[in-house]
């Protein structure tokens, strides 16, 4: 509820009005009414904006100004209603603002009641004629009677700089306010008032109103950023979009956010692509197949060469940041800065003991350690559990106020505002970091050039031998962090970050505007943003052990989130490739392989395997068709990709296990193709969620390795796949 008692009244003058004195008295009566009703004094200002200075003479101005705090602003004679509206808002100082047409016939009490609605919590009120049954925007546009718009300063600030049009500014304002999640009330005033138009005029008016309405209805409405409530901080900053108010605790622009999955350009390209495919299916399916397989074959071949290069680079020599024991021992505690560890938790109180044990082993002076446990407001179980615990002095708990989106990156953004450290790192509750990791990171930052803003430690799993799935998962991570990412680093290209153990200087993280809370792989997104802005990530030779998912369903859910996040990340960072290419050169194109290629292969691999197996199993039937589809050069390309590609993949996994000294896992690597199939299953789920539940966070159940089978079953609930997000009142956000 708005507790302000200050009102700005903005009055546009577009014609000569000889009765402004009466008008002002009427307004003052409304204000008096409000003051009386609320039993509080009011402060007000009346702002006249006109596009013709001669409409109000200087004598008249002097006279009117004697009635109270009244100001006059003369704009260009070309200024239309919309510009006067925007100019008027810009001159207004108070929390409640009224845009009041001088011709508006409304009883002071009615106006006062409308204003009180805003004071009581409604963000926007528009007065409409009492005879108007239809209160839709179209009807408002049709109705030619004057209207009053009453709104809060927060609303008007949100629309600063937006170019409204004269004929439609009112309904556009209302639509934008609605889309931005502000509450909008259509207040019917004088129930007996009617507009009288001739039939012809009425029809003409209806048609015109309809066209204007359509122009507003289909106008793109971008998210609106809301500023932080504190100086030099991103606390409570957020965005309003699709009728919701999101508190992100980040000032990241919506253009760099996954708040929108697809841009219009991307949608149009997708439609074009689908149309081309349909045309191909309709007119020449063989040609379509030839082109498709040709493109895929070339893409796979390039990926094979890329993978070969990654393996070669890694085997040739490691480019990770590595420090000897001697160097680490030479660090003096007194010279070390404060280091903040952010640990977002959601319904993971059972992991806390395990986490604190791991933190306790970290070699960093306790007085310089700042561990922030980030808890969600509705996670009362965790809050109560932690309240009962005897926490070390360097551990603080921070309860993140409930707001949407309720995600891990949002919590981290919140925690960032309270971080005391010069450096910041994220750890998950199940993590067991290398005790020397902070020291290594500290040295890493000192020894790297200033362009390196992030150090990514390697991740791996401590329960690798729990079952076949954890073996595959561990082998995959060994490949990723010991082969792939170091190889990418040596190419000075994009490094998608891992979920935890990313180290930053706090100041750099703020410059980067934190994490995107709408991206379910906010780490990968941040990694790309680092690259786009001209910075670098380096890989740190230090390992954090996590828990590998040991349950297939849980794994699929987790992996679907990762794949969805990668899709979001790819879509966000390919919105406009030209600036990226200009800034980073042709290397930026690797984005399409590192992220895009991985996504593509998830879906295409199973299809190509089906084609290959069908060819050999049902050669008599499908052989002739496939032989016609694959021209010789494409056939060679495809076969080379098939054989070499799979070989390099398996070799890469084996090498990853060797580098990690996970000897017992190596023999399982040869079964990896089956694991890749599982990833494809998760990919399908991810694609569905991208379309219908883009922000939904599939919560991974942790601690499975600690629990018995019965407890595992109880923890795993069947996910509630709610209606598409905008069809339900409550957000589709899951837990963290």
């Amino acid at each position: 509820m708005n507790s302000v008692q200050n009102i700005s009244v903005i009055v546009p003058i577009t014609v000569r009005n000889n009765d402004l004195q009466t008008y002002i008295e009427s307004v003052k009566r409304s204000l008096a009414y409000i003051s009386y009703t609320r039993n509080k004094p009011l402060q007000y200002e009346i702002i006249f904006v006109t596009n013709n200075a001669s409409y109000i003479s200087s004598d008249e101005r002097a006279l009117l100004q004697s009635y109270g705090p009244i100001s006059f602003h003369d704009e260009s004679k070309h200024a239309g209603d919309a510009l006067l509206f925007q100019k008027g808002i810009s001159y207004a100082n108070y929390a409640v603002q009224i845009f009041l047409n001088a011709n508006l016939k409304i009883a002071p009490e009615a106006l006062g009641d409308a204003i009180i609605k805003v004071m009581q919590g409604t963000d926007v009120v528009v007065t409409i004629s009492g005879s108007q049954r239809d209160t839709s925007l179209l009807a408002i546009q049709k109705n030619t009677d004057a209207k009053a718009l009453i709104f809060t300063k927060e609303v008007s600030d949100s629309f600063q700089g937006i170019p409204f049009l004269d004929k439609t500014y009112i309904i556009e304002f209302l639509r934008r306010a609605n889309e931005a999640g502000f509450s909008v009330l259509k207040y019917q005033n004088d129930k007996n008032a009617q507009s009288v138009l001739s039939p012809f005029a009425a029809i003409k008016n209806t048609v015109r109103a309809g066209l204007y309405y359509l122009s507003v209805k289909f106008k793109k409405v971008n998210p609106i950023h809301t500023a932080s409530t504190e100086n030099n901080s991103m606390i409570n900053a957020g965005v309003r979009y699709k009728k919701q108010k999101f508190i992100t605790h980040s000032t990241l622009s919506f253009k760099d956010s996954a708040i929108n999955s697809f841009t219009l350009k991307q949608i149009l390209l997708s439609i074009l692509f689908i149309d081309l495919v349909l045309l191909g299916l309709r007119f020449d399916i063989i040609l379509l197949a030839q082109i498709t397989f040709a493109i895929l074959s070339v893409f796979y071949l390039v990926d094979v060469l890329f993978n070969f290069f990654l393996v070669f680079k890694t085997v040739k020599g490691s480019s990770e940041l590595s420090f000897s024991k001697n160097e680490l021992d030479q660090l003096e505690d007194s010279n070390l800065p404060i280091y903040t560890i952010l640990c977002p938790l959601y319904k993971e109180a059972h992991m806390l003991g395990h986490f604190l044990d791991g933190i306790a082993k970290i070699e960093w002076p306790p007085e310089k350690l700042d561990v922030l446990l980030l808890l969600e407001e509705d996670d009362t179980e965790s809050i109560e559990t932690i309240a009962r615990m005897d926490l070390p002095g360097y551990v603080r708990t921070l309860v993140v106020p409930t707001s949407q989106p309720k995600t891990k990156p949002k919590a981290c953004n919140y925690g960032l505002a309270f971080a005391r450290g010069e450096f910041v790192v994220i750890f998950d509750a199940e993590d067991i970091p290398d005790p020397l990791q902070l020291k290594k990171a500290y040295l890493g930052f000192k020894s790297s050039d200033r362009n390196v803003v992030c150090l990514q430690a390697k991740l791996n799993y401590h329960n690798s031998t729990q079952n076949l799935l954890t073996r595959f998962f561990t082998a995959e991570y060994s490949w990723l962090f010991d082969i792939s990412l170091p190889g990418l680093q040596s190419l000075n290209t994009i490094i998608p970050l891992g979920g935890t153990s990313n180290h930053f200087r706090k100041a750099d993280l703020i410059t980067l505007q934190g994490w995107d809370p709408f991206n379910v792989t906010e780490d990968a997104d941040l990694g790309l943003r680092i690259y786009r802005l001209g910075y670098r990530t380096a890989i740190l030779d230090s390992v954090t052990l996590e828990e590998a998912n040991s349950n297939v369903l849980n794994w699929i859910r987790q992996r679907s989130r990762w794949v969805k996040g990668y899709m979001q990340t790819y879509l966000v960072h390919t919105r406009d490739m030209l600036p990226l290419l200009r800034a980073r050169g042709p290397q930026a194109l690797m984005l399409h392989f590192v992220i895009g290629g991985r996504i593509l292969f998830i879906f295409v691999n199973p299809l190509l395997w089906i084609v290959t197996i069908s060819y050999f199993s049902f050669k008599a039937i499908v052989g002739p068709v496939l032989e016609e589809t694959y021209s010789p050069i494409i056939l060679y390309t495809a076969v080379i990709s098939l054989v070499l590609g799979n070989y390099l993949y398996i070799l890469g996994y084996v090498l990853g296990c060797v580098k990690r000294e996970q000897w017992s896992l190596i023999k399982y690597v040869f079964l990896i193709p089956f694991y890749l199939l599982l990833i494809s299953v998760a990919g399908c789920m991810a694609f569905y969620q991208l379309l219908f539940k883009p922000y939904y966070w599939e919560k991974t159940v942790h601690g499975l390795h600690l629990k018995k089978q019965e407890e595992v079953k109880n923890n795993l609930k069947v996910p509630n796949y709610a209606l598409p997000k905008f069809m339900q009142k409550q957000s589709a956000f899951g837990g963290n």
Binding site: K316, L651, V658, E661
Partner: protein, 540 residues
């Protein structure tokens, strides 16, 4: 001691390598020029010409493609020649093969010096071994040709080098490098498979020695990594066999069944190309005898005995040290691979996996004398396979003491001098067996030929096809799939010319032509040339 070695190695690395590369290259080029100018002896070997033609046919054929590699010879040298044979000049002069073999020769020479130094830390001995390598007249001759032997020698040297490096350092790079060169060697010659077996044994022994106390899983893991890398060549060839012959183990069945398909047999898998020639099997003693004879011939008796001496010496040292200690362990790849390779070569020859070798009859026991094909003379070159091993063992001996070094150097010099003075004086020379000559049938054919497709068996007439200078698109041969199969039933279908020699056992046109085809031949073709069984038919 360590400092001295480091300093010496530094010198070698910085200066000697360049000198040796240049010297080896000059020697290689000189040999190539010499043999080319003396009657194109680099084209004197039928197999060499066939390999050049295989490379050419991949792009120049009625049915171009990778299937032209065929099923008999491992493909790597041919694949390397493909870009070079696109030049008519490089193809026809055989330089395409010389460039590949010559490059391998140069690299092999330098690396055998590096390996000797790595093993012995004796610069003089390493240079002597280098010299013994580049002065081997047979290696010099072979490196002028499009054959696979020199490539094999170099690959073997690289495998030994990196395995030795790995045993010293236990770094992943060396381990994988040895695996990489095993891929190369197993795609070069089938003897490489024996090398793979030997190398696997080396890795297993070393892993057990070094890691079993840590964990047996580490041994398992390292072996899997090794086999994943080193076994890829074999895997690729199996995939090739599956794709083109529908048989993963095509290569194994080919040799074990004694079917010696034509060198250019490709996608056509039918009785029209599967001709089982008589498999020659020997007693083990005879196989041992034959193989040691060719080793002596190809490496020189003196060199071979020095190598044998080095082997005994090394074995003694190893036994004395109980096979322990880094100084002894680093010789393990050389010892084990030498033994395994030799053993399998003898065994393979005894079982008939390895093509026949023609020796002077007096060297073969009466009961084992069988008929030989015309190709078996040149197969004496198989004796060069163990050259790196022999030279390295000789180098070990030379490094043992100054006196030994001098004796060995003098003995080698004497051998070389004697051979220069009187070729084959010590039964150590190959080149004179393979003079290149223009076939007499080529000119008459070219006089007759105007245009059109020619049905001919490449197995027996590779050199004829080569010497005509016609593009291979003009020929219907064993590797042209349906063209070949159908032409053997109806020559008039695709062919304007039919050529065969009914005196040659391996002439696949004559052998596989159906009765109906012979009738059509008589009916629709004119016999325009018939000399000594060589017949040319022209479509009326």
């Amino acid at each position: 001691m360590k400092h001295k070695h480091a300093h010496a190695e530094n010198f070698v690395t910085r200066h000697l390598q360049v000198i040796l590369y240049i010297a080896s290259a000059l020697i290689s080029i000189s040999a190539i020029v010499y043999f080319m100018l003396n009657g194109y002896q680099n084209l004197g070997n039928y197999d060499a010409v066939a390999r050049l033609n295989i490379a050419r046919k991949i792009t120049d054929s009625l049915t171009p493609g990778i299937g032209q590699l065929g099923g008999i010879w491992l493909p790597f040298p041919q694949i390397l020649m493909v870009p070079l044979v696109q030049s008519e000049f490089l193809w026809k002069t055989g330089l395409a093969g010389a460039i590949i073999s010559g490059t391998a020769f140069v690299i092999g020479a330098v690396y055998i010096q590096k390996l000797t130094f790595l093993l012995t830390k004796n610069l003089s001995a390493s240079i002597l071994v280098w010299f013994m390598f580049v002065a081997n007249i047979n290696i010099l001759f072979l490196q002028t040709m499009a054959l696979s032997e020199v490539f094999f020698l170099t690959s073997l040297t690289m495998v030994l080098y990196y395995l030795t490096k790995w045993i010293e350092s236990h770094t992943l790079q060396h381990f994988l490098a040895s695996g990489f060169f095993l891929i190369i060697i197993t795609l070069t010659r089938y003897e490489g498979y024996f090398v793979l077996i030997g190398a696997t044994l080396v890795v297993l022994i070393e892993c057990l020695r070094a890691y079993r106390h840590e964990s047996l899983q580490k041994v398992e893991g390292m072996m899997l990594l090794f086999l994943t890398t080193a076994g890829f060549g074999v895997f690729l060839w199996c995939i090739y066999g599956f794709l083109f012959y529908n048989d993963f183990l095509h290569w194994l069945n080919l040799y074990s069944d004694g079917k010696i398909q034509v060198s250019t047999a490709t996608q056509t898998v039918s009785e029209n190309t599967d001709k089982a020639f008589e498999v020659t099997e020997y007693s083990l003693a005879t196989a041992f005898n034959i193989y040691t004879q060719v080793i002596l011939w190809m490496n020189g008796k003196i060199t071979t005995f020095i190598g044998l001496f080095g082997f005994v010496l090394l074995l003694g040292v190893m036994i004395k040290n109980g096979f322990k200690g880094k100084e002894v362990q680093k010789y393990m790849p050389l010892m084990i691979i030498s033994i395994v390779l030799f053993a399998f070569l003898v065994y393979g020859y005894q079982r008939g996996f390895i093509p026949e070798i023609n020796l002077p009859p007096e060297l073969i026991p009466v009961g084992d004398r069988k008929s030989f094909t015309i190709y078996s003379d040149s197969n004496m070159r198989y004796g060069i396979i163990l050259a790196p091993c022999i030279l390295l063992l000789a180098g070990f001996a030379a490094a043992k003491s100054r006196i030994l070094y001098v004796i060995i150097a003098l003995l080698f010099a004497a051998q070389l001098g004697a051979n220069v003075y009187k070729p084959q004086a010590l039964q150590y020379s190959l080149p004179i067996l393979w003079p290149y000559s223009t076939l007499t049938q080529v000119a008459p054919f070219l006089d007759l030929y105007d245009e059109g497709s020619i049905l001919i068996g490449a197995n027996a007439h590779e050199d004829f096809m080569f010497q005509t200078g016609l593009p291979y698109k003009s020929f219907i041969y064993e590797g042209t799939r349906d063209f070949w199969v159908e032409s053997l039933n109806d020559p008039a279908r695709y062919a304007d010319w039919v050529i065969y020699d009914d005196d040659i056992q391996g002439d696949t046109v004559f052998y596989f032509m159906s009765d109906e085809a012979r009738i059509i031949l008589q009916r629709d073709f004119d016999l325009v040339y018939d000399v000594d069984g060589f017949k040319i038919w022209h479509l009326r």
